[in-house]
Every structure is written in structure tokens, then in C-alpha cells.
Symmetry: C2
Subunit: 240 residues, 2 copies
């Protein structure tokens, strides 16, 4: 049976069979979690490292005025940073967006895994680098792109990430995000996200519906977004 976590890291460094077994073993105690479930909340003391095996989650922060800002989407294979261990309290929350299977790896175990194995160390570095690049790309989007370009850019990012972990079936990709969630991530209102999606749909560029994303004209979408996927450092599938 395949493990999304192992697969993801395998894309970042040539892991030996032993490495893969260690990583898979660390995910032993995975549990099922419903949608909209807070894995950890702002203010909590950091606990284990959460590894997404199935389903989607997000990091977010609630504002005093009631709004929510999503700062990152987590897909199968993604995990929350372990550096956060040194903190007294979390400065943001993490919640599932769909029903999910999540492994809670004790932090000490994860750190030992990383420290004792160079290939795993390398894979983790790379993974963290991608996460940081993604944060920076979001800042660029929020700061300098209009709503259409912004939506287009996020769709490109999600499409590439989903494709990398095998969530595609031909031209369409599994896409469980509501327009409300998109709005919370993009810094827009749900109403406006809806209008942007309509525009993109009427122009025959892309369409969201029934949990699927269909990009009919990827070239045009990427051009609108000004999308450059080098920050995702798309994994090199080495057929080892």
C-alpha cells in the first residue's frame, strides 16, 4: 500500500528502501478525522508533527473582527513543520477541510529520523524550501495581482501540486475546496470569487464543480496568472 508521505519525500531525494520503511513506520498510528476538525489551535502548546495521508487541510488564523485568513493548503504527503517545537504556543491553527487520514508522529522520533539519515535530511530541507517559496508566492499574489490573476495563480499552484501526488484523472483534478474556502485563502469575498470563477468559466478557461477542477486551457490560465512553477521545484520522479 502506498504512503503519500513517503512518496512525496521520495520525490525530493533518492531514499533507500530502509529510509522508506522508517518513514512509513513513523506513520503507524494514523487515524481518521472528519472535515472541519482542528488538529491544533492557535495558543495550544505544539504537540506531534501532523502528516497528511489522505484528505486536505489548511493553516489559518482567525481575526478579532471575525474574518479568517488561510495561509497554506496541505495535501496528502504534506506535514506541519517540526521547527515549531521550540515555541511555547502555536501562532496559527491547522484544520482539515475534508475527511482525512492523519498521522501524529512524536516530534522526538521525527527529529531523530531526520538527524540520523542524510537522505531524509535532504528531503526535509527541500520540502521546507518549497513551503517557504509557496508562502512568498502567496505574498506576491496578494500584494500585486488583481482578483482574476490571483484566482488563476492559486488554481495553477493547486493543479501542479495535485498532479504531482497523483490526484489527476486525465484533464481533471480532485478539488474539494468551496468558494468560501478559496475566498479565505485569496483575501477576497466569496461573492467576488464566484464572479471571477464565472468569468473564467464563460471564457472557456477552467471550471470548478462537483469536487473537480477542469482546466480546459492551461496555457491561457498560466498566462493570466503569470505562473512560474519554479518555486514548487516539481519533484523529479526518478524511476528507482
Amino acid at each position: 500500500m502506498s504512503n503519500a508521505f513517503v512518496e512525496k519525500l521520495s520525490g525530493y531525494a533518492p531514499l533507500t528502501a530502509a529510509d522508506r520503511a522508517l518513514l512509513a513506520g513513523a506513520c503507524g498510528g494514523a487515524r481518521r478525522v472528519p472535515a472541519r476538525y482542528d488538529l491544533i489551535r492557535e495558543g495550544d502548546k505544539p504537540g506531534p508533527v501532523f502528516v497528511m495521508l489522505e484528505g486536505w487541510a489548511c493553516r489559518y488564523k482567525l481575526l478579532p473582527e471575525g474574518g479568517r485568513q488561510i495561509m497554506a493548503f496541505m495535501m496528502p504527503g504534506d506535514f506541519c513543520d517540526m521547527h515549531v517545537a521550540v515555541l511555547d504556543e502555536m501562532d496559527h491553527s491547522i484544520a482539515t477541510l475534508t475527511p482525512a487520514r492523519v498521522a501524529a508522529v512524536p516530534r522526538g522520533q521525527m527529529e531523530r529520523l531526520i538527524e540520523t539519515n542524510p537522505a531524509i535530511t535532504h528531503a526535509f530541507w527541500w520540502s521546507q524550501l518549497v513551503d517557504e517559496g509557496t508562502l512568498r508566492a502567496w505574498i506576491v499574489s496578494m500584494g500585486r495581482r488583481g482578483s482574476v490573476e490571483r484566482v488563476a495563480h492559486l488554481m495553477c499552484e493547486i493543479y501542479v501540486r495535485a498532479r504531482n501526488i497523483g490526484l489527476e484523472h486525465g484533464t481533471l483534478v480532485e478539488f474539494p475546496l468551496t468558494q468560501i474556502v478559496l475566498a479565505d485563502a485569496l483575501g477576497l469575498t466569496p461573492v467576488h470569487v464566484n464572479r471571477v470563477l464565472r468569468k473564467l468559466r464563460l471564457e472557456g478557461i477552467m471550471e470548478i464543480g462537483r469536487g473537480k477542477l477542469v482546466i480546459s486551457d492551461p496555457g491561457k490560465l498560466a498566462r493570466i496568472a503569470g505562473f512560474d512553477d519554479n518555486y514548487l521545484h516539481r519533484r523529479i520522479r526518478n524511476a528507482a
Copy 2:
């Protein structure tokens, strides 16, 4: 003579005299650089780790339409992430904002330093954690805060960071950023930044001028910003 890099890391972990000497030694070949000088550009192959000893710099990205988005400010003691080593090319640029003194530490040396010394490892983790928290805080600002709150929040962040590294003199803080630079960081236009600053000045909350920032009413500023400094994990000065 004090070294901003050593001072910063000392705030994150109890470094021994030997640790401090190692870190200071790594900054041996520092050089002076004028303002508006690109230390490294998007597309370049990553080179050494840059450590700011004096002066300010920023990470930024240029957009095809001509705009610029600043994603982080770097102040004395800050350094660019070494993880970036695994990349083929930089996905953003770094430029000085003022005349600066910068050390270019060979990446191998920096990595050896980190790997061989637990206290230094810990200090680097912590530092990276703060950088990530800052990126997330910027995303929240750009996504969910209006222009006044956004300016106020950035001013709070810069004030705390500047104070932590001793750039304060009484109620004022050294502040070399132009309104154009602020606009590029905040996702606003220089014209609008100017109007926001006027408003804050007329209300007697804060004032920028002649390379100085004066916050007359820190409480009100923080309240406007919804500022919570826990993401900066302000260094604990242990009088060791």
C-alpha cells in the same frame, strides 16, 4: 566590537564563548555594499549565505508588468536562508536598501557550523521559525487588513525588531525606508501610503521623517494593527 549576527543568535539560544567566536569568525570577510545593490538576483545560482552586519536589505520579486513586491525586510543580524542551497536557481532577489556591511559565508562552512554545534543548531531553528511566522503574518495583513491597519501592523513589527537589535534611541527608532519601499512591501501605492501616514500623523499616533520613526502612542498603534508580537518570539536577553 559587537557583531549583529552573533548578538541575534545569542538571543535565541545560550551560546558559549566558543560558539560566539565561531560565528564571529565566519563573518570575517565582510564587505561594504552601497544602497540599492542586488546581492543576488532571481535566476542566479544560489551562492554563499549572506549575513547583514549593518544596514537594511529586502527580498523582492519583480513582476512582468513592472511592479515590485517586497516579501521580507532584513535588518542587522538577519541572514538569508541556507536551505536555498538545494535549488538550481533563486526564485527571488535580495537587494540592499541602505549602504550596508555584508558577510558572505560559504555555505559549506555555515552548514558545518550548524551541524556540529547543538546550541547553534537550536538558534538557527528558532530564527527560521521567526522568519516563517513573519511571512505568515504578512499574508494575514495583505489578505484581511485595510490600508491603515496594514501600515500600522508593519510599523509595529519593524519597531519591535529594531528595538530588539538596539536601533532605538529613546522613543524613536532608526528607519531608513522610503514610502515607495513601504508601498512595495505593503501591496499599496506610494500615494496611498502617503495618505495613510498623514492620517496617523495627524491623529498623533506615529510619525516618519528624516530617517527616524517616532511612535507617540504605541498602545493605539498596536490596537489599530491588531498586533500580537508572539510570532516574533522576542528574544530573551539572558544576562549570561
